[in-house]
Symmetry: D2
Subunit: 237 residues, 4 copies
């Protein structure tokens, strides 16, 4: 485990972009899983800028979404919409290189990743409740590969999802499980801001427990955490 | 995770020897952690036989012991004695390539492994209580790197250790923690015989919990379990 | 580069089988290129025996042929016929896991290998003229990826091919070029017998030159040469 | 092989810095070989800026110089002086993490690299004569590991060295050979400006020959070339 404290959000974004860029520039097929959400937006701006200033064959860079909440009546779910807006639609990616996770294909997704050579890098944020991908406390077993979680109008999950979108979420949502993530060759975890300080202390220094799902990420042989100073402010080490 | 059912103990030993031999034959420095105990004895016999029939530069093969119980009045502890008898003393290994774990050096051992380039392969057995290395249920936190466990004459640990040796064990014993093991590049876990059938079902198919320490090994990105048919007899999958 | 002298052909075959088996047992997709010819026959017998005594999911093991000589009126060429007889047909391999190289697909083969994640291991023999795969002295540029070589009835190539088969060879033959091979993650080169002693001295200790095509293999970051004592008998080091 | 055309020198420097930074942020020991000369100066400025804005344990990052020209009466040679000025002295590096190459230790340097776990990344420039490290046309064999080249006052080498320094060069100079470089896990080659256009065409598209030493770098399984548009202006592909 490597823990890096970046001076500020801009620095964190630059460092994260460097890790993604390096993978893109390797002379082999590269399978990436990138995250939606606010934390990586700075990273995407830097990546887009750099990709516009470089010319190379990108046909061997593949993208695998790690979670999805379908939306009623919409072609794309919450994650794909966010990733298309923030990154995918702003750089050229062939359709064959974009691997959507859906409630239809999730049961075969781990096998697909295996046959495609495994994930080289998974970039994730952390929720204030300690979730990663959509592995929520109370709904997470460290033992799971990619899985679906059903919900109904009016229950806790449904209400939480409503805070993320003005569209109607459709059950079930799907996500990489902990074992899917831990099978990746390299993990990058980003956390920024004061609101993440408390949970990052739990994730990095507390017990490894399903109550704080992201705590398991510490056990991976090649995981790097990048925190800005605010998110790192409660760490003791 | 890869799970291999070997027809019998001899086959399991051959397959395990193949994995160790392959590492030895790679054209780079190789850092190995091998296990004492009865399970790997067949593997060592095969390795010794094969090494006697091959001639090559072994100066870049290094060995790191993963646990130790010191013995009063003895130069070597329980693990080193067993490994010397079963393997180390029967093939030529330069002193500089043998890295003992002791109650003196254990606090700096993870840093040493890091500086030495990390462990390429860790070969382990599983106890009937689900322990790996000396991570015993009730004494294990998934969060630990290499650590020491103190004990006193007459307590549970002491009495358990007495069943393994006719010498006097000296507190503390030392062991790689779960995070030390999970930081290895490749893990190989061996289990043989009917007495391991129940625990292997828990290790491979039960919840990932500190009560069954070896259950955490499933999360590693490159772990192979080899079981003989008896040890696999209670698996449902 | 690692150079291993095996006491005899049986030992060489066991060591080679160990390297292939280890790859098969890794918990990830594995892309293998295996060789036809006489040298690996002992290795295949050992592999077949061991595979019959182990039970595991082989769906992520893929095979990529590295050369081919088409035969007039035959479904399979020289290499595929030999590999099916020696190995493929004797162990269960799904059609989707067997990747034939042909005079139709050779121009797209390097791109296919790239998209499939690259080759994890290439096992090769060496000809008495220093060729590897079908990179023959006089027809080899170190710069080539997979390529085709045309020939005509009665010319040197044609006459050489006739010594290998009682069928009629069809132009062109196809082969991985040096760069295809050098792009593999691990290379294993086998040589046995007195008839290989002179060329192995050139391959391992002479200048790196297209006149001895296999001399370039020494430059690979993870290449292991296994020679029996006869094939190693002229080495000075 | 991956070939990236960067819009300009600034972009090339950013991309190169990203590759080096990514290695620095991995959670394992990292062995780097960096280059002196003018081409990487932009990269070092970016690295220094970014390192000042990040806080993390750098004790597992090691630096190995890949060539050296001793200077009469000076503690450090040409390469070390340049690297100290451009990078080493401007970021904190413990003495134990800086591995000088000298005319005293060069014969044991490949063995040292092997025991230290191998080089994870080698960053190099290309001379207008096609040299890399100090592998000069006319003095290079693809077969060499680290080696020394003697010279005398007034000969061609001596005169060339005088153009690089106002100090007195001392024979012999030392350099990684082609095999040392090709044994690295990842190679990064930088070329900028119109004066490199012709040689880069030879390096990337001409024959692989000792007359253009850097042409051999194309054969490495994980090599990335970054060229600015001027250096790429004569490429046909």
């Amino acid at each position: 485990m490597k823990k890096i404290i970046a001076k500020d959000y801009g620095t964190m974004s630059e460092l994260a972009a460097a890790i993604v860029l390096e993978k893109m520039m390797e002379s082999k097929r590269v399978n990436l899983s990138l995250t939606a959400g606010n934390t990586p937006l700075g990273m995407y701006e830097i990546l887009i800028d750099k990709l516009q200033r470089m010319d190379f064959d990108r046909s061997s860079i593949h993208y695998y979404n790690f979670d999805e909440v379908p939306l009623v009546g919409e072609r794309y779910g919450l994650t794909m919409r966010a990733l298309k807006t923030a990154f995918y639609d702003r750089v050229h990616i062939d359709d064959g290189n974009l691997h959507e996770l859906t409630s239809q294909n999730n049961q075969a997704y781990d096998q697909k990743i295996l046959q495609d050579g495994g994930l080289d890098l998974i970039v994730m944020g952390i929720g204030t409740d300690g979730h990663f991908c959509a592995n929520m406390p109370g709904y997470t077993s460290f033992d799971r590969e990619t899985y679906a979680v059903s919900f109904e109008e009016g229950d806790e999950i449904y209400n939480n999802l409503l805070t993320l979108t003005d569209k109607e979420p459709a059950s079930p949502y799907v996500t990489f499980g902990p074992r899917t993530v831990l099978a990746g060759k390299q993990l990058l975890v980003l956390a920024e801001g004061k609101t993440k300080a408390e949970i990052m202390k739990a994730v990095l220094e507390g017990p490894i427990t399903e109550e704080v799902p992201a705590s398991i990420l510490r056990t991976h042989p090649n995981v790097t955490f990048i925190l800005d100073e605010a998110a790192a402010s409660q760490l003791s080490e």
